[in-house]
């Protein structure tokens, strides 16, 4: 091998090496794109729901309520007959089976939707109005193009007869797409078209607020102590070792801790945002302390010495000068810690947040779910409609995380002083 050949070989090795580096960065970036694209393409349709335009005639004989009935009386009244009567008029049915097939096109909550419309408008008795009734999950998925039509009838959830009605409805422009208010308003449900993340949103909100209220003050005070006041001795070393180890403990271990101490020993109520918040606070505490200490450490000693020189006490120098200067870094560290806590699932599963909760929690001691746990729960469900609901929940979760991370970066860049 001549000198030139060797050099050429070495240079091509150099190029190859460089290419590997670039390629691996590219692979990582590509994966981010694939993941985001996959979630968004699956989930974006969940923000719309399919509804069918139905003409409802509020027949007084069927309703059996008086003209001047109060709201309570209307709530008590039976709207079932009128619902069925209105729904089956969508398409001429020959027998009871066909009528059932038509009713199956609509959500099980059709009666409630009609009742709600009746309550909102005054005095509809004896009148006809057009209402947009939410379609069932199968029709919803069919209309959104997520459901294949060309498979044999016995493997489809929608019968041929129902397909004929659907095509007929589409032709007559009776099928509309509306904003899916149920997705944000409702709690969990067995029916995908009614299931929503309202309960999970509130549960996550309560958990994060409790986590913030507990973890932030303790983390700030602990880092002030360790950075500014702690004597160099064995206790301090021990505390530091503990904090570093806790930051690396798998999150599921915190779930076991919560199960044993918070639920079994102290007997706090299961599946509640209160327990979730405490668990998440214990978990995020070391993860907040580490950036808090870093930002306290970044404040130069001249600040402390200047304050001491004009007669401030140690406490005054710390609380009047060092802490305010370290605050942006502290806050951004806290927000990033909270963002991690918001996406944490495993410990919440162990404390029972996987329970099926339909009601929206009104206080932090009501059973509830949380956004990531809702993702886990729905991903286990077989119905096709839950796939898009899960993806949409992930979209909501990711957008919260993005907002929090941007806020953290903004706080740091805007307010943090650079010392050099």
């Amino acid at each position: 091998m001549t000198k030139e050949e060797r050099l050429k070989k070495r240079h091509s090795a150099e190029k190859r090496f460089r290419f590997y580096g670039l390629a691996s960065i590219f692979v990582a970036l590509l994966f981010v794109l694939i993941l985001v694209h996959n979630i968004f393409s699956k989930g974006s349709s969940a923000f719309m729901k399919t509804a069918i335009n139905v003409e409802v005639f509020f027949d007084q004989e069927l309703l059996e309520i008086k003209n001047d009935a109060s709201d309570d009386e209307i709530l008590e009244a039976d709207f079932f007959d009128i619902t069925i009567e209105s729904l089956i008029k969508v398409y001429p049915a020959k027998n009871v089976e066909e009528e059932d097939a038509i009713i199956e096109l609509f959500t099980t909550d059709a009666e409630i939707e009609i009742k709600r419309a009746f309550l909102e408008n005054n005095n509809l008795i004896g009148k006809k109005i057009n209402l947009e009734i939410t379609a069932s999950d199968d029709i919803d998925q069919l209309h959104k193009g997520n459901y294949p039509r060309d498979i044999p009838e016995d493997r489809r959830r929608i019968s041929d007869f129902q397909l004929v009605i659907y095509d007929n409805l589409v032709e007559n422009q009776k099928i509309v797409k509306n904003f899916n208010n149920y997705f944000f308003k409702n709690g969990d449900s067995r029916d995908p078209e009614l299931a929503g993340i309202g309960g999970a949103l509130i549960g996550s909100f309560y958990s994060i607020i409790i986590c913030l209220l507990l973890a932030f003050p303790v983390a700030v005070l602990a880092s002030i102590y360790l950075e500014e006041f702690a004597p160099k001795n064995k206790i301090t070393d021990f505390i530091e070792i503990n904090i570093n180890n806790l930051a690396a403990v798998p999150s599921i271990v915190y779930g076991l801790l919560a199960l044993q101490i918070l639920l079994a020993t102290i007997q706090l109520p299961r599946s509640t945002p209160l327990v979730a918040g405490i668990t998440l606070a214990l978990m995020t505490l070391p993860r907040i302390i580490i950036p808090c200490r870093a930002s306290l450490k970044a404040v130069p000693p001249s600040i402390r010495e200047g304050a001491l020189a004009v007669g401030a006490s140690k406490f005054q120098s710390v609380f009047h000068h060092v802490v305010p200067l370290a605050l942006p870094g502290t806050l951004s560290g806290t927000i990033i810690g909270l963002a991690q806590a918001l996406g944490e699932t495993a410990p919440l599963i162990l404390i029972g947040m996987v329970a099926f909760v339909v009601d929206i929690p009104s206080t932090p001691i009501d059973p509830s779910s949380s956004l990531p746990v809702q993702v886990y729960l729905w991903s286990e469900s077989a119905e096709r409609g839950f796939v898009e609901k899960t993806s949409a929940t992930i979209m909501m979760l990711l957008s919260f995380l993005i907002v929090m991370n941007f806020l953290a970066v903004y706080l740091r860049q805007k307010f943090e002083k650079r010392w050099n």
């Binding site: 070495r10 240079h11 090795a13 150099e14 190859r16 090496f17 460089r18 590997y20 580096g21 670039l22 390629a23 691996s24 960065i25 990582a28 970036l29 981010v32 993941l35 979630i39 003050p217 983390a219 005070l221 602990a222 002030i224 102590y225 006041f229 505390i239 503990n242 806790l246 690396a248 403990v249 798998p250 999150s251 599921i252 271990v253 076991l256 801790l257 199960l259 044993q260 101490i261 020993t265 505490l285 006490s313 406490f315 991690q340 996406g343 944490e344 699932t345 495993a346 599963i349 162990l350 996987v354 990531p372 746990v373 993702v375 886990y376 991903s379 899960t390 993806s391 995380l401 991370n405």
Partner: protein, 469 residues
């Protein structure tokens, strides 16, 4: 529960009003008696606030922690005295839960006289405890306020005193880390010891069969030799550690090359502009919640692999170790890349310059000089990534299997330690069943494993840093 919030609210209001009282009171004293105060008036206010709030809140916390435990033991004892029959803790717990449900009005089964009596005495004790709590808290508040008011009137050095109290508060906050560690160790040990008193620790560590569902309804305290023979085969740890390591290994096969190469590229080749864009984007991978990866692995990657396998004529489980490992590897990339980026950056420039001076190309310098120099740090970062991988829960719960297979075929499904913990503890758990306790034994094993890995990794990184600092 509600009472506690009311009490905290009252204490807060009272403390705040004391602040203003203390401040104006000391001002007026100094004017009246024409003396110079030993601190600014507001410090007297702070002093009162701290004295009023801290002792009472600490008391309230301790009381709340211990109240349920004490009431429970009292109630179970009274129920036993009244003739309730229970053979073990299990049944005692059940009866206690029934009594609580009757008290809350949510129990719809048959209520016999013993239960009724017990529920009445439960109500009595709850009342008694709540009332005595309120009385004691008021007593503590009044006593500490009187004490601190006296101090103020004597014109104490309030600022110094406030600072001493605050320093104690700071120290107490930093102790929470130790308390958390202790809590973890005790809660894991407590149940694990019970587990190992039933199952021999060697049967657990070296058994090759994991099927905890066998221990379903069984009285742990009275196990016959026959039953034990059956039980000891149900809790073999080997398949779990094998599955966990296997998935972690696949993850590392993905994460280490990609992470290391991107770390090297960013540290050695990338321009400032590329670095500024690509580094945060790669770190997005670490910020995505793991449940999202799990969803992606279970619904997209798993079926995708199965489809490819079918086309190639292979049987691929839809919960294959490959899918879970691959996605976990992608999640871990940023841990490897950013740590090795840091480590490579801290290799002194003089080493590189020496290598360039003898004519080495950049890649030769990296391969022969920089990486060997940074090796302990890189190994440390890989070990940290491994400990992430074995502690990772959601990806494997959603994408890996549930049955414990001893296999090295990446296309089959395996299970992991974390998956089993979740599977055992989701839903209703029986108290004192070896099955429930085994989850804590698994947790303890996991805790120790990650601790050891982290210790070695931190030592490696630290040693490496010392070498070049």
């Amino acid at each position: 529960m509600r009472m506690n919030f009311v009490l905290i609210f009252l204490i807060t209001i009272f403390s705040l009003s004391l602040f203003f009282y203390g401040r104006s009171k000391t001002k007026s004293i100094s004017i009246e008696k024409n003396i110079k105060l030993n601190a600014l008036p507001k410090f007297y206010g702070y002093y009162l606030v701290l004295w009023c709030s801290i002792p009472s809140l600490v008391f309230l916390l301790i009381w709340t922690l211990f109240e349920p435990v004490i009431i429970k033991s009292i109630i179970i004892e009274t129920a036993a005295n009244q003739g309730a029959i229970f053979n073990d803790k299990n049944e005692a717990n059940l009866i206690y839960e029934k009594i609580k449900a009757i008290y809350a009005g949510t129990y719809f089964g048959d209520i016999d006289t013993i239960l009724k009596e017990s529920a009445l005495s439960y109500a009595k004790f709850i009342n008694l405890f709540t009332n005595s709590k309120i009385v004691l808290i008021f007593a503590i508040v009044i006593a500490s306020v009187i004490y601190s008011l006296k101090k103020i009137k004597n014109n104490n050095k309030a600022r110094d005193d406030v600072e001493v109290i605050l320093k104690g508060l700071l120290f107490a906050s930093s102790l929470i880390a130790i308390l958390t560690t202790l809590g973890i160790i005790f809660s894991l040990l407590f149940e694990s010891i019970k587990f190992f008193s039933v199952i021999n620790i060697f049967d657990y560590l070296f058994g090759t069969n994991w099927s905890p569902q066998r221990a379903f309804v069984r009285d742990a305290s009275a196990i016959t030799a026959e039953e034990y023979d059956e039980l000891k085969d149900a809790f073999g740890f080997i398949p779990l550690i094998a599955g966990t390591s296997f998935i972690a290994f696949i993850a590392m096969l993905v994460a280490v090359p990609i992470g290391l190469f991107s770390g090297i590229y960013m540290a050695e080749y990338a321009s400032v502009k590329i670095r500024r864009i690509s580094k945060p984007i790669i770190e997005i991978l670490a910020g995505i919640p793991t449940v999202v990866y799990g969803f992606f692995a279970a619904l997209t990657v798993g079926p995708f692999f199965r489809q490819i396998g079918e086309n190639l004529g292979l049987t691929v489980s839809s919960e294959s170790a490959l899918a879970a490992g691959l996605i976990m590897g992608i999640m871990i990339i940023p841990y490897v890349s950013s740590l090795s980026d840091d480590v490579i950056n801290s290799v002194p420039q003089s080493l590189r310059d020496g290598s360039y001076a003898v004519g080495a190309t950049k890649s030769e310098t990296i391969k022969k000089v920089v990486i060997p120099a940074a090796l302990p740090g890189i190994i440390g970062s890989v070990l940290l990534a491994v400990s992430r991988a074995i502690g990772e829960t959601m990806i494997v719960v959603m994408a890996a299997g549930l049955a414990a297979n001893l296999t090295i075929n990446p296309l089959e499904s395996t299970t992991t330690i974390t998956t089993q913990i979740v599977m055992i503890l989701v839903g209703d758990q029986e108290f004192d069943s070896p099955k429930t306790q085994s989850a804590f034994a698994l947790g303890l094993t996991l805790f120790i494993a990650t601790l050891v890995l982290n210790y070695i990794a931190q030592r490696a990184v630290k040693k490496y840093r010392e070498k070049y600092d």
